[in-house]
């Protein structure tokens, strides 16, 4: 009992540390990456390569006043940033970084991550509504309609994976994708359904992750050219800091989930590379995805709200439903 308990506590602490560290240092990575793309240095004063920037920013934010606007709903206003960070941390429980490193594996892990991910949009709604600010209100409505619109194709695409693997256990899903790159779910030939649409499924899933995490080009909720800052417009101090960290934590979870479902989790691309630990491969894959996130953000302009909703309801949902039927059919036929 006591040994298991120690293990659990250790894993929990590691997972939370990973989440917090990533949330802080992805800000740095994003700013450095943006600097590279825009031919400017980015933060480079504090520490080597500006590496002390995130903790210093955090300290600075903590020293600021958390202003609550006069008309605001105080309880919801303070609860919203906590609520946005909470599901982001909770989702890390069940993410398997390698065969060994997982805080707590569950046989419904996939469902659990989706449950927490969708409760994140609640925080946005609370934040926007409780601020009593018109920009925040519009942003909240936008963000929620965006989050719900992209949740459906995301769920349906994940169902195709559940169909192919026959389980919602994330460890089991990854185990079935070994040993080489040809067995990853993104490549249809050696997986059991032989579904040629799987690369499209991957693209749909990735697009939905972009939209769910409110990232450019789908950052309608934070569109600074019309809504100034969106749902967190009235937040200063650590209230803003939590929203900011939650955004990056969500990006990490989105990348982890994409890696687990489509890119073979901790498996190396080729079997003979197996001497490198699985966790290295896993981190490599998620950071490549995160780099893509950053790259997309600094390259594309923002879409419109109707363009965004039309893409989901008129294109992604029918395609993913069709893909689901096709996968099920192929599984039955072959």
């Amino acid at each position: 009992m006591s040994l298991t308990l120690l293990n659990v506590i250790f894993a929990v602490v590691v997972a939370i540390a990973f989440a917090a560290l990533n949330a802080a240092y992805l800000v740095w990575a994003e700013r450095r990456g943006a600097g590279r793309i825009q031919r400017r240095p980015g933060p480079n004063i504090n520490g080597p390569f500006g590496l002390f920037q995130p903790p210093l920013d955090g300290l600075k934010l903590m020293a600021k006043q958390l202003t609550i606007p006069g008309g605001a709903d105080k309880i919801l206003f303070v609860a919203a940033p906590v609520l946005s960070m909470f599901p982001a941390i909770m989702s890390f429980v069940t993410i398997p970084f390698s065969e060994m490193i997982v805080a707590h594996n569950m046989n419904v892990g996939l469902l659990m991550i989706f449950a927490f991910a969708s409760s994140g949009s609640m925080a946005l709604l609370f934040a926007g509504w409780s601020s009593r600010n018109k920009y925040a209100m519009m942003s909240a409505v936008r963000s929620v309609s965006q989050a719900v619109a992209y949740e459906i194709p995301m769920l349906i695409t994940a169902i195709t994976i559940v169909l192919m693997t026959g389980t919602m256990d994330l460890m089991e899903i990854v185990r079935q994708q070994g040993p080489s790159i040809l067995h990853w779910n993104i490549f249809p030939l050696l997986t059991n359904s032989h579904n040629l649409l799987m690369p499209f499924s991957f693209l749909i899933f990735f697009t939905c992750t972009l939209a769910e995490t409110n990232r450019a080009p789908f950052d309608l909720g934070e569109a600074e050219s019309e809504l100034v800052a969106g749902f967190h417009i009235e937040y200063g101090s650590m209230g803003f800091g939590l929203f900011f960290m939650a955004e990056y934590a969500n990006i990490v979870i989105g990348s982890c989930l994409t890696t687990i479902l489509f890119l073979g989790g901790w498996h190396p691309p080729l079997p003979f590379l197996g001497f490198i630990p699985g966790v290295v491969w896993f981190l490599l894959k998620i950071y490549i995805l995160i780099a893509t996130f950053i790259w997309i953000r600094w390259t594309f302009p923002r879409t419109t709200i109707y363009g965004l909703l039309n893409l989901s309801w008129k294109i992604l949902i029918p395609i993913s439903l069709f893909n689901l039927l096709l996968t099920a059919g192929l599984l039955k036929v072959f």
Binding site: A63, L66, P81, M85, R132, S145, L321, L324, A328
Partner: protein, 119 residues
């Protein structure tokens, strides 16, 4: 349910709530000052905000929310089916085909009704 599972869930849940709350302690330690203008909601520098923000909002978004409810429940309904498709066999497959076709018909009906037409 094993004791470890309960315990680890409680620990994790507690930490996940406590850490953000600790960060919000800045509300206690941070400076405190106020004023009419500072406590006003921001509205592009207009001093006194006209009209409240917590008011009736365009009905379009409520329609979207209701649509989402329908589709989301359908999607969650498919998960148990997806896990046990191998046991259910051909019957299960055909049943889901009928179900999804019904769903698609609904989607096409919504599109034809113009719920998602923005311009």
């Amino acid at each position: 349910m094993s004791a470890e599972l309960v315990l680890s869930s409680v620990i994790f849940f507690g930490l996940a709530v406590i850490i953000p709350v600790i960060m919000l302690l800045t509300a206690v330690f941070g400076p405190r000052s106020g004023g009419v203008a500072k406590n006003d909601a921001y509205e592009s520098g207009i001093k006194h905000v006209v009209g409240m923000a917590d008011q009736k909002f365009s009905v379009k978004f409520y329609l979207l929310a209701i649509l989402f409810l329908i589709f989301d429940i359908e999607a969650v309904f498919m998960y148990p089916w997806a896990v046990s498709l191998r046991e259910l066999g051909m019957f299960g497959f055909l049943e889901m085909v009928v179900f999804i076709l019904l769903l698609l018909t609904g989607l096409i009906y919504i599109l034809k009704k113009g719920v998602l037409n923005w311009r």
